[in-house]
């Protein structure tokens, strides 16, 4: 690796103060520190040794945790296509078709976001933030495979600028960046991210008779409207192309239409296992959010006035993006509650709100997106009261 090091050292003066490309220093630095961890040593006073962790390593851990979802999403995109058009295809065919659809989205998201990061780093003179490694992967996983690439680019740019950079970059943002991108798409271009037609890529082929591209959530919602039993309605849905597509087990495994990364609860749980084992994400948030969702769904079931509400509570946990949202979005440490007891409240309310939005709001069959964004806004308030309690304890024992 010496030649790389030599190359970098040779170019360094160009970018340093007084060099020709001094303005681009942080771009150079981003590349340099990506290849080589720097040779900085600790300050003369204070901790003389440091933990081996840094933000790059933490962020790459999250990216790794998302890879099961990404791979499964790629496969499932192809799988859904061939199911819908009624053609038999090998595993490889499905995967390659999925790859041709998903990979461009990933590349566009990284490129668009990376560009914004780079521009801000140069203009605002701050280092390029690793947070983008995660955002750039999250955004593709929460959009349908049919999303136009320009929309992906636009949403990414919007989210990185408005949700993050205007606040000062990674660590300063209030909203989860990837969720903001999705919300932007949802409200700006609803035709491409909602309804029954966007979840399955058809290409120029016609689907088989009786095919419906609806998601499980909208089928369940329809059951409520039509007064038919939700579970059996789900089970019999799309029987033209597959038996029991929206059965609990199949929804858990994820061979269903939906956004690229969200469909498989199993893969999400695999990612969750990585995040929890490495300690990168908070188990408190995950547990309380899943718990809150289940409890709320059970309450809904008790109070059921329609068939959607009467749907078994555990169905909610494998439908739509709730699992993905809880595991990868709600646990974003920057936008989540930051105190340990606050995390319980924050997670619980995300779960509860998701189900309330799903079941009672006819306009948005998916609740996790708004629940996470809403609780992002409220997280500082939760923390405020937790910290206030700490201050109060301190004040009470004082005598003066």
């Amino acid at each position: 690796m010496k030649f790389l090091r030599d190359l970098l050292d040779k170019q360094k003066p160009l970018f340093q103060k007084g060099g020709k490309l001094e303005n681009l220093y942080y771009l150079y630095e981003a590349g340099e520190t990506f290849l080589f961890s720097p040779k900085h040593t600790t300050a003369p006073r204070g901790a003389q040794v440091k933990d081996a962790i840094d933000l790059k390593r933490m962020m790459i851990t999250v990216v790794i945790a998302m890879i099961p979802c990404l791979l499964f999403g790629i496969y499932n995109t192809g799988h859904m296509h061939y199911l819908a058009v009624g053609e038999a295809a090998s595993f490889g065919d499905k995967f390659i078709l999925g790859l041709t659809l998903v990979l461009p989205i990933v590349i566009v998201a990284y490129a668009a976001g990376g560009l914004v990061e780079a521009v801000f780093a140069v203009v605002r003179k701050h280092p390029i933030n690793e947070g983008f490694l995660v955002t750039g992967m999250l955004i593709p996983l929460v959009v349908p495979a049919t999303t136009p690439l320009w929309q992906v680019a636009l949403a990414t740019i919007f989210a990185v600028v408005i949700a993050k950079e205007v606040f000062g970059g990674t660590g300063m943002n209030i909203l989860n960046v990837a969720m903001t991108a999705r919300a932007f798409l949802y409200f700006a271009y609803p035709a491409q991210i909602s309804g029954d037609q966007v979840w399955t890529y058809l290409g120029d082929k016609t689907p088989v008779d009786g095919f419906s591209g609806a998601t499980a959530l909208s089928v369940a919602y329809q059951s409520g409207q039509e007064g038919v039993d939700a579970a059996s309605n789900l089970a019999s849905h799309n029987s033209a192309i597959m038996d029991n597509m929206f059965g609990f087990a199949n929804m858990f495994f994820g061979f269903i239409p939906g956004s690229i990364g969200e469909t498989s609860t199993l893969m999400v749980l695999l990612g969750a296992a990585i995040l929890l084992f490495t300690g990168v994400a908070s188990w408190k948030i995950m547990l309380s959010a899943f718990g809150g969702a289940y409890i709320m769904a059970a309450i809904m079931q008790l109070l059921a006035v329609n068939e959607f509400m009467a749907m078994p509570a555990h169905y909610h946990l494998v439908m739509g993006g709730i699992a993905f949202g809880i595991v990868f979005m709600a646990t974003d440490p920057v936008s989540a509650a930051q105190t340990e007891s606050g995390k319980w409240v924050y997670g619980l309310l995300i779960g509860v709100l998701t189900i309330i939005i799903r079941v009672t709001n006819p306009a948005y069959p998916e609740g996790i997106m708004l629940a996470v964004l809403f609780m992002n806004v409220f997280a500082p308030l939760i923390d405020h009261y937790v910290v206030k309690a700490n201050k109060k304890r301190r004040l009470q024992r004082a005598t003066v």
């Binding site: 080589f36 720097p38 933990d51 962790i53 660590g171 304890r393």
Partner: protein, 453 residues
């Protein structure tokens, strides 16, 4: 009533090179230095000796114009060979070339009854004039105590949980009498109590039989031995209160002063760290030059010599001087190298509190590490949450406190507990920090903001 307090939060940094419990033979140390920079909070140091003067052990050489009563004295007898100043004539070091045999200033001796009969004022005057007073550190702020104050309590932690810390049972062996005498003096300085913190894990300590104190036992990982943590669990510091703390060495020194009438600056120091060839203890005096211990005794040349431990210590030169309050010298490799893809390479050689991708040190809970001084990453904004809390066994929110300091929000700092901490209490946060903040520097900045506001 003694309490057993078990602390769960914290982290032990396990390093190679713990000193063996024996005293090594080294070349006698020639020079000693008092560094005013060791006394945090000393604002206007004034030297009262000139180069060429001869001093005895216990002769005043320095005082702080803001705290004139407190004398800082020569640790050894000899000649003042250099008064080193830095930029803007900042006083850096007062160097003394030591006599081969130490001559002591003779001070008044006290029997146990004398101490019991003496007035508080007399004891304080005696201590401030003879050089032992700077052993008393005041909380809040972690600065040399003001003799005009009367503390609510006095706290002494009799063990050290810092990385490679010296074994205090070894340091204090056979000193229990002096320690008791020191305690007798200290007891007269406060209307409250004198509290000893002992390790709940180690075998019987001589300190367990000390009379007139309240003894509490602490167990758990570092920072269980930090006096700040112990205070927090016994009688936390509130706004407006003053508490004094001492290292057991200081208590012994006070005891020797009153018993023998001498300012005795002799101390045992632990030579530790992966780069020290033979990690043992050495017999020396306060402010010892370290070259006798380092020269020819390190495994390589690119070594960082630290006065104190690797969490709270200070980098010194190979021929530098040990800090006034330090009982330990640590030598670790300098980490001034690039590492290819160092941020994602799996490693079992680097210690981490975390378990993120490729950080495998959690698999070896007993392994000792040879850590170097590389920062291992770049400074970033706060991202990860909950980590600082998990290494701080106090009811405090470190990140909120640090942010309040950064924002210079005085009310927030007070409410969040700035009075309860000094640098060492949050030093572990600096180690485990994903975003590599200079936590201890920030804490000191906050303390100074509050102290001088």
């Amino acid at each position: 009533m003694s309490k057993q307090i078990k602390l769960k939060k914290g982290f032990d940094i396990r390093l190679v090179g713990k000193a063996e419990n024996k005293i090594g033979d080294f070349q006698p140390v020639k020079t000693f230095a008092i560094k005013p920079t060791d006394f945090i909070g000393m604002r206007r140091p004034k030297v009262i000796v000139k180069e060429g003067d001869t001093v005895k052990a216990g002769s005043p050489i320095l005082f702080d114009k803001k705290l004139e009563k407190v004398q800082y004295v020569a640790p050894v007898s000899g000649e003042i060979v250099e008064i080193k100043r830095g930029e803007k004539r900042k006083l850096l070091e007062i160097k003394i070339l030591a006599d081969s045999e130490i001559n002591f200033e003779n001070f008044e001796k006290f029997t146990e009854a004398d101490i019991a009969a003496a007035s508080r004022e007399k004891l304080v005057d005696h201590m401030t004039a003879t050089g032992v007073w700077p052993q008393i550190i005041q909380r809040p702020y972690g600065v040399v105590a003001d003799p005009e104050d009367e503390p609510k309590n006095i706290f002494i932690s009799c063990f050290d949980t810092h990385p490679l810390a010296p074994d205090y049972d070894f340091l204090l062996k056979g000193q229990a009498n002096y320690f008791q005498a020191g305690i007798n003096v200290l007891k007269k300085l406060t209307k409250g109590g004198v509290f000893l913190g002992l390790s709940g894990e180690s075998k019987s300590s001589e300190m367990a039989n000390i009379q007139g104190v309240e003894t509490n036992y602490f167990s758990g990982p570092h920072p269980a031995g930090n006096v700040g943590v112990q205070i927090h669990h016994i009688a936390p510091i509130n706004k407006g209160e003053t508490i004094w703390t001492l290292n057991p060495y200081g208590v012994v020194q006070i005891g020797k002063l009153f018993t023998n009438g001498h300012y005795d600056a002799s101390k045992l120091i632990a030579l530790t760290g992966s780069e020290i060839k033979t990690p043992v203890y050495a017999q020396t005096y306060i402010g010892s030059c370290v070259d006798s211990y380092v020269a020819g005794n390190t495994n390589s040349d690119n070594v960082r010599v630290v006065s104190g431990n690797v969490l709270t210590g200070e980098k010194i030169k190979r021929d530098g001087y040990l800090g006034f309050y330090d009982h330990q010298l640590t030598a670790i490799p300098e980490g001034d190298y690039y590492e290819f893809l160092g941020w994602m390479k799996p490693t079992t050689e680097k210690l981490s509190y975390h378990k993120a991708l490729g950080l495998l040190s959690f698999l070896y809970p007993k392994k000792e590490y040879a850590l170097d001084s590389n920062v291992r990453g770049e400074e970033r904004a706060f991202v990860q949450t909950g980590v600082f809390e998990s290494v701080t066994p106090m009811d405090i929110y470190p990140v909120y406190l640090l942010k309040a300091i950064m924002a210079e929000d005085f009310d927030e700092m007070e409410e969040l507990g700035i009075y309860e901490v000094i640098e060492e209490d949050l030093a572990l946060c600096e180690f485990v920090d994903v975003s590599k903040h200079p936590v201890q520097e920030i804490v000191r900045k906050g303390i100074e903001l509050i102290q001088f506001s």
